[in-house]
Amino acid sequence: MSQGNTMDDNEWPLYEVFIRSRAGLSHRHAGSVHAADSQMALDHARDVYTRRNEGVSIWVVKSSEIIASDPADASAFFEPAADKIYRHPTFYEIPEGVENL
């Protein structure tokens, strides 16, 4: 993902683009576009990311509005989950005779 808040005054702000590829799926991050306002961001996202029939719905959000985790915090954020295998359903054996769990 590109940096959102380092634009100087001469450049259009950056927007992150999320595309829903078909009904029932969730929007996924596709990339980013520059645009002067939100409607232009939608148009640009449409023209850059859906020209080969990739989507049925688009979200755009200003990159500067996204609050992201700090890579420096990665070990504190994510590593504690690594050794907690009992949080996965596959850790548990299904007792005999239980159907439809």
Binding site: W12, V33, H34, A35, A36, D37, Q39, M40, D43, H44, R46, D47, V48, R51
Partner: protein, 252 residues
Amino acid sequence: MTSDQALTRYLLRLGDNALILAQRLSELVASGPELEEELATANFALDYLGQARMFYSRACELEGAGRTEDDMAFLRGEREFENLLLLEQPNHHFGDTIVRQVLFDSFYLLQLEALINCGDQGLADIAARAHKEIRYHLRHSSQWLVRLGDGTDKSHARVQESLHRLWRYSGELFDGDAVDEILRQEFNGPDLVSIREQWRAGLQTLLATATLTVPEDQWMDSGGRQGRHTEHFGYLLAEMQYLQRSFPGASW
């Protein structure tokens, strides 16, 4: 002129409009104001090019003389093209390009809307497909017109000037001849008088939002339907047809 001849010529004119505008917009590839806007412009050019191919193919089918869409695009002379003069006008600055788009697409959308119900199924099908593309084009260029018109003092002044400069080519949009008349009467084609009213009403609303002034109706240029072009057209055609003229039958 038989009704089929009129229909063929009408289709050729639609093809010419689309092709010439596609060519003009293609000139902006690699020199757009922003990367994303350039891609949008290229998309639009490709949409028009696709429409031109469909109009030409249907015209060739009706003509039955063995000519193809390529013959229409690359092997006809200046006087044989019957596109609207507005569309051959140079891109100049971005405001000129946007005004040209708005003036034409707001007309073209109404024209296509009427053609969806016309008496020729081939044409009706193309119109239905093109209509969706043009609705998006108009949305995009209308937003730009408002952004420029209601933007800074400089952008407002420049786009207002574009509007004045191109206005003289807007009369021709509705300046129908015998071909349009036959289309209307025998194929349930567009009624240019009512389209003109709708076009004006829509444009007035848009221009008011963009804080722009509708120009006074002055002397209007015309002649595109008869193959009489402005001085810019020969250069456009020379560039567009160069390859086929220099290397006849070249393909890849």
